[in-house]
């Protein structure tokens, strides 16, 4: 089994969907989480507060500089993620498709480095 990050990207400044739709997405994500857990592919997952709550820390030679985040000045920011275990990319993509359907956002799939990789 390999591990994959399924990252949910949010576009900042997009109009907030109606409350009903948000509740529906929460429910769908809960159901998706339960499905990943039941299938034995679950590693970890979490939703994040918006990028305005982020802080960036840089430490070099003992000098610590702390700045108001986020790190990347782009409109697309990480909104939440899953870490799943899957036998190959096709299996990970299949989970990502279900996750995307549930949360209503595009999902980026990234493989974790494995021990022994260059």
């Amino acid at each position: 089994m390999r591990q994959y990050l399924l990252a949910v990207h949010m576009v900042e400044g997009e109009p907030t969907p109606p409350e009903e739709q948000i509740q529906q997405a929460y429910k769908a994500v809960d159901a998706f989480n339960a499905e990943v857990q039941a299938a034995g592919n679950w590693v970890f997952a979490g939703g994040l507060y918006p990028p305005s709550t982020a802080t960036v820390v840089r430490s070099q030679g003992g000098q610590v500089v702390t700045t108001d985040g986020p790190f990347a000045e782009t409109k697309e920011q990480l909104g939440g993620f899953w870490v799943i275990a899957a036998p190959d990319l096709d299996a990970a993509l299949a989970w990502a498709a279900k996750g995307s359907e549930a949360c209503g956002q595009p999902v980026e799939v990234r493989p974790f480095q494995e021990t022994g990789d260059e």
Partner: protein, 405 residues
């Protein structure tokens, strides 16, 4: 049969490298290792075959030699690669030594790895040509008129992604196949089209790419005989390629279908293509490639352009646009509409198409305007087409059409 010359070794390479690489990828699970081992085996062949002659089963010889080379290398490097390499070695050793017969499934698996939608389209093309067709990086670069370093980088990145992301090396399951097969077919079709009308440069055709695409389509058709779209694609390529000798005039200039000397069409390719079209349409699962092939087959049926059964072609376009509702298909349908219902009706239909950047949109409109006697409008449309044409032969054809107005 002693005295194999360089050309014979080269031909053996072309014919067996794809299969050998695919088999080694299955055995060792690593594309780079497989490629390098197959290259090494061919180096040995180049040294040995001129004296000993080509062995009775050159493909099998290459696979066995390459496998031994790969095992040697893994043994040498196993301390570096650690347990994983040891495990791979055990798997490879466990394989019976005589896995040298035709193992077409290996190539099919590798085609689906190369044409995985997680890879960029140009990477899919380069990987397929390199690993399945056995083209060198420099040959791919020449074929697509991009620097060799660019192709090399695409290949390195794609192979790294296959390994790092765990793109599997297997034929998609039945339920996945409808989603995945179109990517493999599209790659083969793109390779053919790039060969048939080069997107840049002055030569209209780079026939080497057409031949490779047909070889790949034949391979897919042999490996997946139950998929009508695969046979449809092969038929489409054969029927299109059959016209190649008639498609260019003196000096490499472009000759339109209606003006082609049909005696110069390759009758054997036409016959094979038509037979394939009939056979796959009988299965009753028409798809975009089969329908395009059927349209091409109707053209091939006509002894002269004036004999073309445009009614049937329009009916096929109606079916095609139902399964493939793209503006380009709609544009091509307009050409049939012009023959059946007249250029005025066709021109009206082109008005709603969002194809301003496409040179053939403007040249189609130019031709319709010319037939309607609107010379100034036709000239403006030809100018727009010329400005957007990237192939030199196509652009000079369009200039001649414009100047004849």
């Amino acid at each position: 049969m002693p005295g194999a010359d360089a050309a014979t070794v080269e031909q053996a390479y072309r014919e067996s490298s794809g299969r050998a690489v695919a088999t080694l990828v299955r055995l060792f699970g690593d594309i780079d290792l497989a490629e390098e081992a197959v290259q090494e085996a061919f180096v040995v062949a180049t040294e040995r075959w001129p004296a000993t002659g080509v062995p009775p089963n050159p493909g099998g010889w290459i696979v066995t030699t390459a496998r031994n080379k790969a095992v040697d290398r893994l043994r040498r490097e196993s301390s570096r690669f650690g347990r994983e390499a040891q495990a791979t070695l055990m798997n490879a050793d466990a394989e019976p030594p005589e896995e040298v017969g035709p193992v077409p499934d290996d190539r099919l698996r590798l085609i689906f790895t190369c044409c995985h939608p997680a890879l960029a389209a140009e990477a899919q093309l380069a990987l397929t040509l390199r690993l399945i067709a056995g083209l060198q990086t420099a040959e791919i670069a020449r074929a697509f008129l991009v620097p060799e370093a660019t192709v090399a980088q695409r290949l390195v990145r794609a192979k790294r992604k296959i390994r790092a992301a765990g793109i599997p090396y297997r034929v998609p399951r039945d339920e996945e196949l409808p989603g995945r097969l179109p990517f493999a077919l599209a790659v083969v079709y793109l390779i053919f089209n790039e060969g048939y009308t080069a997107s840049a440069g002055d030569n209209l055709v780079r026939s080497g790419l057409c031949a490779e695409a047909i070889r790949l389509a034949r391979l897919l058709a042999a490996l997946m005989p139950d998929e009508p779209e695969v046979r449809g694609l092969l038929a489409l390529l054969l029927l299109t390629d059959a016209r190649r000798p008639a498609r260019t005039g003196p000096g490499g200039s472009l000759v339109l279908l209606a003006d082609q000397g049909r005696g110069r069409w390759d009758r054997a390719l036409v016959a094979e293509g038509q037979q394939l079209v009939r056979a796959c349409l009988r299965l009753g699962r028409p798809g975009p490639y089969q329908l395009q092939a059927a349209i091409s087959a109707v053209h091939s049926d006509a002894p002269a352009a004036a004999d073309t059964d445009w009614g049937q072609i329009l009916a096929l376009y109606d079916q095609l646009i139902a399964v493939m509702p793209t503006p380009v298909v709609a544009l091509n349908r307009c050409v049939a509409v012009a023959e059946v219902h007249g250029p005025a009706r066709a021109l009206e239909l082109t008005g709603g198409l969002d194809l301003d950047g496409y040179h053939l949109y403007h040249s189609t409109r130019a031709d319709l305007l010319r037939r309607l006697g609107r010379r100034d409008d036709a000239r403006a449309a030809y100018d727009a087409a010329i400005a957007r044409a990237t192939n030199g032969a196509e652009a000079s054809f369009l200039r001649r059409q414009r100047d004849r107005l």
